[in-house]
Symmetry: D2
Subunit: 253 residues, 4 copies
Amino acid sequence: MLADPQAALAAATEGDEASVVAGIRASASSGGNNDQKKMYVDMSTVDAETSAKIGAAVTEAGGLFLEAPVSGSKGPAQQGQLVIMAAGDKRVFEAANDPYFSIMGKRAFHLSDEVGSAAKMKLIVNGVMGSMMAAFCEGNALAQATGLRQTDLSEILSLGAMACPMFALKAASVQMGEYPPAFPLKHQQKDLRLALALGDSVGQPTPVAAAANELYKAARAQGRADDDFAAVYEAVVVSNAEGAGKDAKRVRA
Amino acid sequence: MLADPQAALAAATEGDEASVVAGIRASASSGGNNDQKKMYVDMSTVDAETSAKIGAAVTEAGGLFLEAPVSGSKGPAQQGQLVIMAAGDKRVFEAANDPYFSIMGKRAFHLSDEVGSAAKMKLIVNGVMGSMMAAFCEGNALAQATGLRQTDLSEILSLGAMACPMFALKAASVQMGEYPPAFPLKHQQKDLRLALALGDSVGQPTPVAAAANELYKAARAQGRADDDFAAVYEAVVVSNAEGAGKDAKRVRA
Amino acid sequence: MLADPQAALAAATEGDEASVVAGIRASASSGGNNDQKKMYVDMSTVDAETSAKIGAAVTEAGGLFLEAPVSGSKGPAQQGQLVIMAAGDKRVFEAANDPYFSIMGKRAFHLSDEVGSAAKMKLIVNGVMGSMMAAFCEGNALAQATGLRQTDLSEILSLGAMACPMFALKAASVQMGEYPPAFPLKHQQKDLRLALALGDSVGQPTPVAAAANELYKAARAQGRADDDFAAVYEAVVVSNAEGAGKDAKRVRA
Amino acid sequence: MLADPQAALAAATEGDEASVVAGIRASASSGGNNDQKKMYVDMSTVDAETSAKIGAAVTEAGGLFLEAPVSGSKGPAQQGQLVIMAAGDKRVFEAANDPYFSIMGKRAFHLSDEVGSAAKMKLIVNGVMGSMMAAFCEGNALAQATGLRQTDLSEILSLGAMACPMFALKAASVQMGEYPPAFPLKHQQKDLRLALALGDSVGQPTPVAAAANELYKAARAQGRADDDFAAVYEAVVVSNAEGAGKDAKRVRA
């Protein structure tokens, strides 16, 4: 599950002998019918274009391709609770689903035959996540700035329609200002950037995600790139650093 | 639980004989020690300033005041599952909590002695809600615009860190374009406006909420004021109405 | 030209003897036909509602009312180069225009008979101004962050379609980080807030102004409220303060 | 002055015999000292990376390279009033400046020796332009929505600190809803996208430009890609189309 599009592309296609594609080509040229075609499942998170390139290289070399990025970070991965979003050759999906995907994840989706569709879905999911976390941090910043307890806010949210594992998991990070990275902020910002680019490519505006993205950029510039993405909180409140003494009590709950 | 600050203020304070304050004054002037003071619990959702005005009028008339707005719409109200956010006189809170709040809600918070604090918390909670719903709608719009199934998106979200009752409840509305009002869009937009004003008053920027607010304004202008607030989806996609035929297939999953 | 709505309203209407309205009432009750009616021109910058209240009080007291806020700060005022935006009684406009407005301003507009229209126009003009200044500051921040000279950017802008007195006047402020107040930032932010509220009242979204407003809020929180509004630049770059040493050379040209 | 990065790159580098680089290589390999080196001036508007690629190819082939994108559309081009932003080899700049740049433009800047700097400056300038036009359109939309004359707004702006050729040129387009393309909207949106990407690369947030970009995306989706970029006005007001009859008179002045 390589995090970088260039790395994923290189692993799959570069090198005369060592790459995935070279292996598939060697196998294919030694004969073999469709049932014996080599299958390649790429679980990296890459953009749709890169995924399509890898898919095309695999197919052209005589293999079958499935992209299958996952949703969920460290914890879910260790517990076999990932959500797997797949697109590409249905035969590969079926072969991979049982047993592999069933072990790794709580559910696997075959979204489309079109390679790139899973990459898009993953970006959309992560785009929503980036906006939601930014919204959560704005709420926490408002609580703090208006003299309310952030812990009360978190508890209230946990009892209502917005209760979600992410808020429950990240509330302490935000409240204590400590951000051990489960999903590094720079990756969240990259995914927002790519989700915005996806919207751009089809003419779909997403102004909330665009505003969130600017906050993550600011957090990156503050040196938070390798912190958990909840550190976007620091960009939400940072602008008030100088004013803290004057205008409002900013001690956290 | 009056929805309008003016109405709440009028009910509490206007009229020589009929108002809450007139009743308290009559009672107080007939003598009575602290233990017998009339208590007034205002469960309306109003801004902090209006709440403080009502509180001051009640206190000045010799009563004890608690503001106690709730979080949760029709369903939770009918099931006694509201979350109650209270601020003001602690004695009123204790008297109201057992048995009244316990019956109406799953949990009641006494946030502060300062009247207005509950109004602020409610706005913060609803501000987060407005941003989250807009983020969810942007995700759905991106799914549709890129040829993915919105139902797949909803299911994926329901299995991960962002799974929350609100998304589960509203997904069908968004996907079918039908918005029976549980929480009318105009109220969501009003709460975003007031949450932004709250941030303004303490110098706390909330750019994501600001971007979301503009979408709700657009939805209002499209005639969606009385629809459920999930109808902000129509403002997210509306700009593409004319382009639909040309650039992208926008038929929903 | 009072800057504060409350102050303007008080000066016009409060006090039994000292207020403008009291004076008009005294005069009107001593008889007099229409031609002799007292005229009141209010050149404060207030919101449309306050202006309408003052207008109604003046009219009800038997006077004629014109609101006439101005565009332009210290320099234009001293040089008689203000732009005067008036609304209300046309007779007052004509009486005031020659000679008073002609001396004070380079041009006076009678926008409408409806009091409040000039207040609205002033907010719209200042809303555009707030967005433009923020856009200019973003350009300067990008120039600095990418190693370009801000002075080159200013000169290029001064030679093209965007050349305007404001950029020419404020470029040095931004480049040197010194903001002697011609138009205090807190007033610019207040006008953006009111322009957004105006859009809200008619269902007209203005997402660019909303994003700009959040930057001015941030600048206020940094202690820039009384600096010139060009100090919004500091909010645009402030988030990078910590990152400066690591990621990019931020020494200005 | 090719508008497309791919086209510019192809023209410069592709083809064994026909490309610019092939010509330079042929010339260089036939001998010649530095004074006789072939010079290549690329006046296309491309991103910094593409420009750097072309520059590297030219240099590697033994030539000298200058990138020199221009600011200004049809009118200024015909009148020799372009602003030329150059970066790269200073000798090429000097050779090109007199007489060529002097004829084409009113001023040429040598911004840096580093190829890519002019591409960046051009994006920054056009980013500011995109935000300014969006701000202008928001002002016009507010004027219309609140019953004011857009022509009054334009005149007021033309007399004050924000007076600029662009507003003067585009006011009629916005007011009449006719957008003959001087600078196509799709190019303005592309430049905003690239300006945002530039900020992303150095961690400089530009939330106002990001909000503006979403409006241009919306305008593109409405089928306005080939109209003049002033057509972003239609995205600012479009959301109100359905509401027009109900909430506000939207007939233009």
